[in-house]
């Protein structure tokens, strides 16, 4: 049987983006002010990457 190993080259970036996205979605719920700003910064990452990918295409 093949050993299941985490392929970080393949899944590293998607995992990082997912964690940062979920963090961003939750922080704005936790409070106002600094929490909102953290949320905007975190969620700008996936949005920015998506648009970069789009314009590269």
């Amino acid at each position: 049987m093949q050993k299941v190993r985490f392929n970080s080259k393949l899944w590293g970036m998607p995992l990082l983006i997912t964690i940062i996205s979920l963090g961003g979605l939750l922080t704005a719920l936790a409070g106002d002010g600094i929490w909102d700003i953290l949320s905007w910064l975190a969620l700008s990452l996936p949005v920015g990457l998506a648009f970069r990918g789009l314009f590269k295409a």
Binding site: L10, I17, L29, W40
Partner: protein, 373 residues
């Protein structure tokens, strides 16, 4: 992953997507203006803020209720509610019967300092139409549940899409888009890249959307569960009729029992949110999180005594917390912009997915034609 396994995931991805794509396109297109509904509402119908003359005291709720009642003498007040952003504004919902459908509601919005009528919520505007389309496609509860089913397919499509990302991308770097090979490869890579980047957001908005479609189910569970328990001592008692007790003293009693909380709505006896004997006063906290969670306080509508106050059960709180996570209205205007951009990216993922299906079909057909000639 074995080719056979990948193929099975691909079939799941293909069919769940194909079935829900048309509805998801509609949801994304109608959802886009709904993200900004407050701004658009204010722009279509400039709202008058309830300004208070210097030093003016608030008018009692009971007096405001008399003013609201006089606007529609043939109807009865069933809900009193406060504006989230404008505490000087008090809204009244009047209808022929306490348990009449929402469509029979008439709204009166009053300035709590002067008693003057303000433009109230509208139910015939373009935004209302878009909202109906988005939540139920004008088909009531069945329409809502159907969209919930489409949401489940959407979530399966996302999960199978994530699984397929592995075998497709295992020999490439993250962010790879094959620009000059062929149109199909270019859009395939774009579909995969945008899909994996926005998967977390799409899953959250998809799942919370599904939960929102269950709102009527949740209401029914609450009525049959907690509300029934809270009103158990009143089973068999004659309904509260005739002149009811003071709204102000009911509100005071409730607020004293929950220090630091603010009222959002008072529901009258006989409505779907109360018993036939109580004013139900729903209180909320003040942080972004606790302001979404409500606490019902039941006040005997005749005697004005508080009979019970409780926190809501987990399934109601789950519904309440799903709302902001679906609407994106909990982190100021920058979060709304981010929501809109995610919505646009989702649209691109849907459209490229559809295109890829067409392109594959065409390629298959040509292959067959070549074989048979």
């Amino acid at each position: 992953m074995q080719v056979k396994t990948a193929k099975r995931w691909f079939l799941w991805h293909k069919w769940t997507s194909l079935i829900c794509t048309l509805f998801l396109l509609m949801l994304c297109l109608t959802g886009l203006p709904l993200i900004f509904h407050e701004e658009i509402d204010g722009w279509l119908e400039p709202e008058t803020a309830a300004t208070a003359p210097a030093g003016a005291p608030r008018i009692s709720l009971d007096s405001l209720a008399v003013i609201a009642g006089a606007v529609h003498p043939d109807l009865h007040i069933r809900y009193v509610f406060w504006d989230r952003d404008d505490p000087g504004k008090v809204g009244f919902d009047l209808s022929p019967r306490p348990d009449a459908p929402v469509s029979q509601s008439h709204y009166v919005s009053l300035n709590a300092f002067t008693g003057q009528a303000l433009p109230g919520p509208k139910t015939d505007g373009i935004m209302y139409t878009i909202l109906q389309l988005h939540t139920s496609m004008f088909a009531g509860i069945p329409g809502k549940l159907f969209l919930g089913l489409m949401g489940i397919l959407f979530v399966i499509a996302i999960i199978s899409g994530i699984v397929l990302y592995g075998p497709i991308m295992k020999n490439f770097n993250f962010g790879m888009v094959r620009k000059h090979k062929s149109k199909r490869l270019r859009w395939l890579d774009t579909h995969n890249l945008l899909g994996i980047i926005t998967a977390a957001w799409m899953l959250v908005v998809g799942l919370t959307g599904i939960i929102n479609t269950l709102s009527d189910v949740v209401l029914g569970l609450w009525q049959q569960g907690q509300l029934k328990e809270m009103t158990a001592p009143y089973v068999g008692a004659p309904p509260a009729e005739g002149k009811l007790g003071s709204l102000d003293s009911a509100l005071n009693v409730a607020c004293r029992a929950a220090p630091g909380m603010k009222p959002t709505i008072i529901t009258y006896p006989g409505t779907i949110f109360s018993s036939r004997h109580h004013y139900a006063i729903f209180l909320r906290g003040s942080s972004p999180l606790t302001s979404r969670l409500l606490m019902p306080a039941l006040v005997d509508a005749k005697t004005g005594r508080l009979t019970d106050i409780r926190e809501m059960p987990w399934y109601v709180n789950t519904l309440f917390l799903s709302e902001p996570l679906h609407f994106g209205d909990y982190g100021g205007w920058p979060l709304k912009i981010i929501w809109a951009l995610f919505d646009l990216i989702t649209l691109i993922v849907l459209v490229t997915g559809l295109y890829l299906w067409f392109a594959r079909r065409k390629a298959h057909q040509q292959q067959w034609e070549r074989l048979s000639t």
